[in-house]
Point group: C2
Chain length 333, copies 2
Amino acid sequence: MSDTKFDALCIGNAICDVFAHVEEDFLVQESLVKGSMRLIDTDEALRLYDKMGQTVRISGGSAGNTAAGIASLGGKPAYFGKVAKDELGDAYAHDMTATGVHFATPPLVNDIPTARSMILITPDGERTMNTYLGACTKFGPTDVDPDVVAASAVTYMEGYLWDPEEAKKAFLAAAHIAHKNGRKVAITLSDSFCVDRYRSEFHDMIRNGTVDLVFANEHELKSLYETADIETAISAARESGALTALTLGSEGAMAITRDEQIKVKAEKVDNVVDLTGAGDLFAAGFLFGLARSYDHQAACELGCLCAANVISHVGARPEKRLSTIAEQAGFEV
Amino acid sequence: MSDTKFDALCIGNAICDVFAHVEEDFLVQESLVKGSMRLIDTDEALRLYDKMGQTVRISGGSAGNTAAGIASLGGKPAYFGKVAKDELGDAYAHDMTATGVHFATPPLVNDIPTARSMILITPDGERTMNTYLGACTKFGPTDVDPDVVAASAVTYMEGYLWDPEEAKKAFLAAAHIAHKNGRKVAITLSDSFCVDRYRSEFHDMIRNGTVDLVFANEHELKSLYETADIETAISAARESGALTALTLGSEGAMAITRDEQIKVKAEKVDNVVDLTGAGDLFAAGFLFGLARSYDHQAACELGCLCAANVISHVGARPEKRLSTIAEQAGFEV
């Protein structure tokens, strides 16, 4: 096994988030399910964009946010994801590199544009995502640099990678390389609709050991195990053989293995502005903790601290240095 | 005099704001004067961008922010400003149109890119701006649509328009058309460095009646009248013949004419996040108030309410509908 050069390699759909504040009415008029992510085509992307009012544009993508979070904690993350050679793509690469993420996936030239997700924020802070995948549909196995996978303590991937066909193959190729080099593989279930789309494949991967670590929120875990009861879902997770990191919103988070079930409380947040990125930043804290040999309890606590930070402003990436915030809270970073 | 179709026509440099949070140290290392706006060339723009970390991108430009604010109050604003036919420019036009601003300046094609201002936010909420003017340097008198000027109750322009040579000519042409049609002309002094650059020309315009209404903050008014004493500056403003709307930060604002001197208190803000746009949104409230025949006191109060709203989040444009906020505060909008 070679030396660990990266604390985590994050692989995901490289997406620019386009935020707008809307009233509850807007979701009703557009027949959108609050809190969901849906995939849209070019026509729908243009139509919705025209209707959504003043926007704010921030680099996003679930695993990209996690990589930025790990960098902000002072860790060493790498990222694979496909942008186009356009302004949004250039900004995406800038934001990655400028925050200290190793990002070397070559951009797509003269083809479809960089992906964007139109995120509608309602007054309760919930976000409803409308994603045009663009260049992400061209991410495939050839974008998986085996040296980076081999040099990363864990390879962390989005369930959303199941949406573009070639990205799914890249996911499996990366998992194979990681295990061949004695590394761990993690998946985040992304959202409950994503779980609906790929439930049996996610099950298979957990059962056959393709993934060692599963990140999920309550809705996703219940969807995965097809139950309305969270305790039943937790029992199933315990029996699955994987380590499950479960986020519970304002209730905190849990780490679940066959032998252990740990629960930590959420950090108090006075002013929840935008829930975007809560799960992504929890994963950043948890993965950073594991890379620093924290026990599961401390890793959960750091995850909750990072999640609390990101929901107190618009956007899914840290605004302040998380290493400072973690140090002030008593973590060794 | 034809009917008033627009409450205000705002003319300014159409700029995309690129925000990043930095520590105080960063300004010291870069020898930047906190709170200032400096103009930079392409090389410096690229160099600084590489160093500034994770960014957030929002359409900005002082007069553009004011136009968006008037629209958010339920008013009818128009805007003139030059973007390029590129992604930033398209986003700029979208944000204007989507918020209800009449924006019909043709974009620049196959030339220099849309302007951007790299805004460094320090932990105290102050912002230091580094502006690459790009397409704004191509805004000129031919972009001034006389029908729109004639149909606007007031034409409001940035002092910053003095920076690109052709824009200055456009400013004077617009002022001439406005007065010929019995309309008012307003200027914002933009920043104290801008006043330093063009003091005598600004003086001349106020003295000879090219402008009827002057927006300034404390630093700008002191710079205009070359005094360190605000009372001396206020006396000079009183004698100038123009209506001066003076913002005083946490102290509130004043309306000053030869016959009248009114002071209103600032709205209390619990959590100042980013001072960008405070002056622009004060102007939005004040201009909207004048268009609705408010007296100077009420116009100042609405200006302060709008300013308080914009400094409680990142970015210089309203996130929530200002008409709702103004109504809740008892204004008739």
